[in-house]
């Protein structure tokens, strides 16, 4: 019977595909959130696999902070064109202009928190009843208890005390009018699994993930890309370094690592040897121990 087994990446893949298909079967108007980061790239790849040879039967939505790296946007647009996928973009800047969100000011300003407002508005405006996200449970303590199918009340909030038990592969997506779900198809993947899968499936990823030279500043141990969105503190002088990014998002808080890894194989070796979590490099998570948890309750990704 030994031949009838699959490795852990194929098992994770099968589980995620099952979850994505379940979303399409159970909801009327789902959307998949897409940031251009490796997790959402893998999630989208799984969605393509789930419905092939049909096109992915839902649109993707990008919540654009306006602080994106150009490489990410170019990558995104090419991928959408190649796969004939519908992309919706909603801008944090619009929420700010409408007075619904206020930009943080000062040297540590970041738009990560503001994304929540734009996201919830987008969900309401376009009447989505389910938004799939690329969150993983290994990312952060507060995510460890998150369900695959996460119920949100009419204000888009998450109640960690009142989650539905999730057993076997039976997912309960029933809801009342006005409520919606967040679904996390790659809940059980770790950072290592994601990289191994990218290698296994030969998935193209934005160049930012590979080693390159860039002007950076070092702020309390976090290496940030020096750019128009990062206000310099007194005494900070941008310097050229060989770096790569472990996550890519808002330029103002995405930390880089000094690295010479130029291929997926080399990244995997680096991840295997590294002793700091991905989020350890995210400046906004460092602000408070429970930062992530607070954002999640408000409806963050």
């Amino acid at each position: 019977m030994n031949q009838y087994k699959i490795n852990h990446l194929r098992e994770l893949e099968a589980e995620s595909i099952f979850v994505i298909r379940e979303v399409v079967a159970q909801f009327e108007n789902p959307v998949m959130l897409f940031s251009g980061g490796k997790d959402s790239i893998v999630m989208f790849h799984l969605a393509r696999k789930a419905f092939w040879p049909a096109r992915v039967p839902f649109p993707l939505m990008h919540i654009d902070t306006g602080h994106n790296f150009k490489e990410t946007l170019d990558y995104r647009d090419k991928l959408m064109a190649d796969t004939e996928t519908k992309l919706i973009v909603r801008y944090v800047q619009d929420s700010i202009n409408q007075g619904k969100a206020v930009d943080e000011t000062g040297v540590n300003a970041s738009r990560n928190k503001l994304q929540t407002v734009t996201l919830l508005d987008g969900i309401e405006e376009l009447k989505f009843d389910c938004a799939m996200g690329g969150g993983r449970r290994d990312e952060e303590k507060a995510r460890a208890k998150e369900r695959f199918f996460s119920h949100r009340d009419e204000f888009g909030q998450w109640d960690p005390k009142n989650q539905r038990p999730e057993l076997w592969n039976l997912f309960n997506g029933k809801k009342h009018m006005g409520e919606h779900f967040r679904v996390f198809p790659i809940s059980n993947w770790t950072e290592m699994d994601v990289w191994q899968y990218i290698m296994l499936e030969n998935i193209p990823i934005p160049s930012l993930y590979f080693s390159h030279e860039r002007e950076v500043i070092n702020r309390d141990g976090t290496i940030l890309a020096a750019g128009e969105y990062v206000a310099l503190k007194e005494g900070e002088i941008p310097q050229k370094r060989i770096i790569r990014f472990r996550t890519i998002g808002d330029m103002t808080c995405t930390g880089a690592v000094l690295s010479k890894a130029g291929t997926v194989e080399e990244i995997i070796e680096e991840v295997a040897a590294t002793r700091v979590t991905e989020r350890g490099g995210r400046y906004d998570d460092k602000r408070s121990e429970a930062a992530m948890e607070d954002r999640k309750k408000e409806g963050y990704f």
Partner: protein
């Protein structure tokens, strides 16, 4: 660690396990120890728990702090929900369903147990087998977790005494004879000091068995899945609206048992029509055969009407088909089960409704006796009941197949998941 490591990684198996023990038996410390000794803990996480340990005025780092989750719980110093943890060794990737807690304990353990290959049951060497241990063993058996590892913890506090370990083993074996469990192992450990967790203990020469990590890495799980009775619940029908696949009609789903091969004859439930498998597709590739737990798309030679909730099977093994179902349930909600009440059900990929016909007995999980007089089923209760469904269900007994033999109950008013059922 180089190319070889990568190749090794691609050969890894996935093992899911759950942990059970009473409060203070050392579950959190044990999980922390496994993560720590397998180097799954990062420097920034370590710093954060060092800070927290200091704040609490503890000496050294408290490994238990690694695994507790939400802030409110952290502040109260308790954990009350299932949390999932991950670590990997070159052999396997592990998913831990960490289910500590107090009142909601049964519900949590049942949830964590539903997908587990292995249950780790902790026993405090000083206390031995207690009522809680019986409950944990019973739940592991009820949920048909294929393997149980009993960790006799805090051996350092009983001078690593062999007799104490042997007595606990004998007591546990006595309970096990009343249960439906097949594979039980015992390991004497100290989660705090690390004895027999990852590294072999120097304090217990008398123990010749494997360490916990060795067992987790090597216990044989490939045959836990039913590869005999072919079951394919249709999840979604794929009809591409594009010219080159104009006539493509694919049945998407996950194999929940058995093996399906290209060219084989299959039967569709409930219609009873038969056809042959034309192709088994995964993305751009077609494969010759598929088995649990793969997610694939199957196309058939004939054009027959098939939709979500239907099931493809092979005629050599027909599942039970019926509307009157006898099952064990675990209740999850403060609102008690209502005799004669109606509930939504989810079973494989079908949605249906049922009425509760009868409560046969409630099980006292601490003594494992059946109580036929008290039929009030509330939060965390386990009972045997019968239901009648609105349409025929194709099912197997839970013992035969955990996926086609399980279902959940959903409250029609609140939409909450209020119970789990295992078909007898």
């Amino acid at each position: 660690m180089s190319a070889e490591y990568n190749r090794g990684y691609l050969d890894m198996e996935l093992l899911r396990f759950t942990t059970a023990g009473s409060v203070d038996d050392g579950k959190s410390t044990l999980i922390g120890r496994l993560l720590y000794d397998s180097k799954a803990i990062f420097e920034d996480q370590l710093e954060s728990i060092e800070r927290a340990s200091l704040k609490k005025g503890e000496e050294g780092i408290n490994l238990a702090l690694l695994t507790d989750g939400l802030r409110a719980e952290r502040e109260q110093g308790i954990t009350i929900d299932v949390a999932y943890r991950y670590f990997a060794t070159p052999k396997r990737k592990f998913i831990i369903a960490d289910t500590p807690g107090h009142i909601q304990y049964t519900r949590n353990m049942v949830t964590g147990a539903s997908t587990a290959n292995v249950a780790l049951i902790l026993v405090d060497a000083r206390n031995g087998v207690i009522e809680q241990t019986i409950r944990h063993a019973f739940i592991a058996s009820l949920l048909q977790i294929p393997h149980i590892i009993v960790c006799v913890n805090k051996m350092d506090l009983v001078e690593f005494d062999e007799t104490i370990f042997e007595n606990i083993k004998a007591d546990f074996d006595k309970i096990a004879t009343k249960l439906d469990v097949h594979d039980i192992r015992f390991i004497p450990i100290s989660a705090k000091l690390g004895d027999n967790v990852v590294d072999r203990s120097k304090n217990m020469d008398w123990y010749e068995g494997p360490t916990l990590m060795y067992l987790l890495e090597n216990i044989h799980i490939a045959s836990d899945i039913n590869h005999l009775d072919a079951r394919f619940p249709v999840q979604y029908v794929i009809r591409p609206m594009r010219d080159e696949y104009h006539d493509y009609r694919g049945y998407a789903g996950r194999v929940e048992g058995g093996i399906f091969r290209k060219g084989e004859k299959v039967k569709v439930l409930p219609s009873g029509f038969t056809s042959k498998i034309k192709s088994i597709d995964i993305f751009e590739n077609s494969i010759e055969e598929t088995f649990a737990p793969q997610s694939v798309t199957i196309t058939l030679e004939d054009d027959i009407d098939i939709s979500r909730g239907n099931m493809l099977i092979k005629e050599d093994s027909i599942p039970e088909i019926g509307q009157d179902i006898d099952l064990m349930i675990c209740w999850f909600n403060e609102k008690p089960l209502i005799l004669g009440g109606k509930y939504f059900l989810k079973h494989t990929t079908s949605d249906l409704r049922c009425v509760i016909r009868d409560v046969k007995y409630r099980i006292d999980v601490n003594t494992l006796t059946n109580d036929e007089n008290n039929k009030k089923i509330g939060l965390n209760d386990i009972a045997r009941i019968t239901i009648k469904t609105t349409k025929p269900v194709f099912y197997d007994s839970y013992r035969k197949n955990r996926l086609t033999g399980s279902l959940i109950f959903i409250d029609e008013a609140t939409n909450e998941t209020v119970g789990a059922g295992m078909i007898i």
